[in-house]
Symmetry: C2
Subunit: 204 residues, 2 copies
DNA sequence: CTTGAAGTTGACCAAAAGGTAAACTATTCA
DNA sequence: TGAATAGTTTACCTTTTGGTCAACTTCAAG
């Protein structure tokens, strides 16, 4: 019973949007409230600090959206290396859209925020780490499957996944920093190279 | 003539330290002043905003320190691929020290700040971009030299450099986010792999 | 149609932040 | 010695921010 409201959702959305488009540091409770069209009193009805809200916003964005995308692209029904290339391609295309819409490549909010909050703000830091660790596991299991198929070179799959994921996130961040989508264009191809797939030499 | 002072240097140092250990977002003029042991009036005597100071701090840290390290490690007297592996190794070892001293892997301030300020704060953003672009060029020219020597696979050196540099910065950022030095351990080896050096198969 | 739970509002407060300026101090050159 | 220059300090102001609270509104179940 009682009154209904979507204010909580609006706050989560506003916070994520500010974090993604700008940064965690730029978050103020006033700014979030204004963007969400919610009064400060209501903010404190739902959350007890901006850190709590930000962690919740990252959580929602992953468990209610991002994860589904990963699940689809990394589906076991797709050949393992294709999961990776398809994922890379989809990120590239996604960021093209983002740049068109916002005038800026925005990259991955967890990675940016994770780096920003790594030495404080435990709630946010831990949430970013949690999500990034989950994303890493998609890479790892695709690599393991590719190795089992003989499609990827053998070797420590966890270490390779860390490399590939670092390369991926690093490229995304460069694209954000330089607002330059070209950092993402060769991602699919470069990912395959990293996994040392045997290639048919393209004879000119 | 007039009075002497190192207040300006102390402000630059304090700002860089705060940015590196925490983040750009956490910078406040009061905090910088307190850390530097300088009164706010003096701050405004030397700088006109925190953004100006931060850009100057990044500038100083690169042109008065960082660049020398790159120049030494990427010296033309060293075989090109060794420049890269030696660089990677030195970053790994450097960050071990950083973690020991500060309890945290801190990574590369330009990369963190660049990502944080990419959609505002033009002065800082441009300075971070400038420095990162210069760093990229060290990679690019080493790759070019390695290709000329036949030590690295042929192909678009600029694109390869972007890949390698993204991988490098991505790994550093992961190490920072997870406070986990292991992201950097295999950097030298992984860098060589990325450049597709012909390897002597290690026969067990 | 009332009652209580759920959510909203506006007014308010204290602290922190950005920013200014006039008076002061130290240095050096003439 | 005394300007002129370079840097420092203190006190002050305004705006922004984080945070609280009591009064108010809406809703739905009994």
């Amino acid at each position: 019973m009682g009154r209904k409201s979507d204010a909580k959702e609006r706050l989560l959305e506003a916070a994520l949007d500010l974090i993604w488009k700008r940064s965690y540091g730029v978050l103020t409770i006033d700014a979030i409230c204004e963007k969400a069209g919610v009064k400060k009193g209501s903010f404190y009805y739902f959350f007890d600090s901006k850190s709590t809200l930000a962690a919740a916003a990252l959580h929602e964005s992953w468990y209610a959206c991002g994860k589904d995308v990963y699940d689809k692209l990394f589906s076991a029904s797709v050949p393992p290396l294709e999961r990776i290339t398809a994922f890379m391609k989809s990120v590239y295309e996604g960021q093209i859209e983002v740049q068109k819409e916002h005038g800026q490549v925005l990259g991955c909010p967890c990675f940016s925020v994770g780096s920003e909050t790594c030495s404080e703000d435990e709630a946010v830091r831990e949430k970013a780490r949690e999500i990034l660790s989950q994303q890493l596991r998609y890479f790892e299991s695709a690599i393991r499957d590719a190795q089992a198929d003989g499609a990827a070179a053998a070797g420590d799959a966890a270490a390779k996944a860390k490399c590939l994921f670092s390369f991926f996130e690093g490229s995304l961040a460069q694209a954000r920093i330089h607002n330059d989508i070209s950092y993402l264009k060769n991602l699919p191809e470069a990912a395959l190279n990293m996994l040392q797939v045997q290639k048919n030499a393209a004879v000119g």
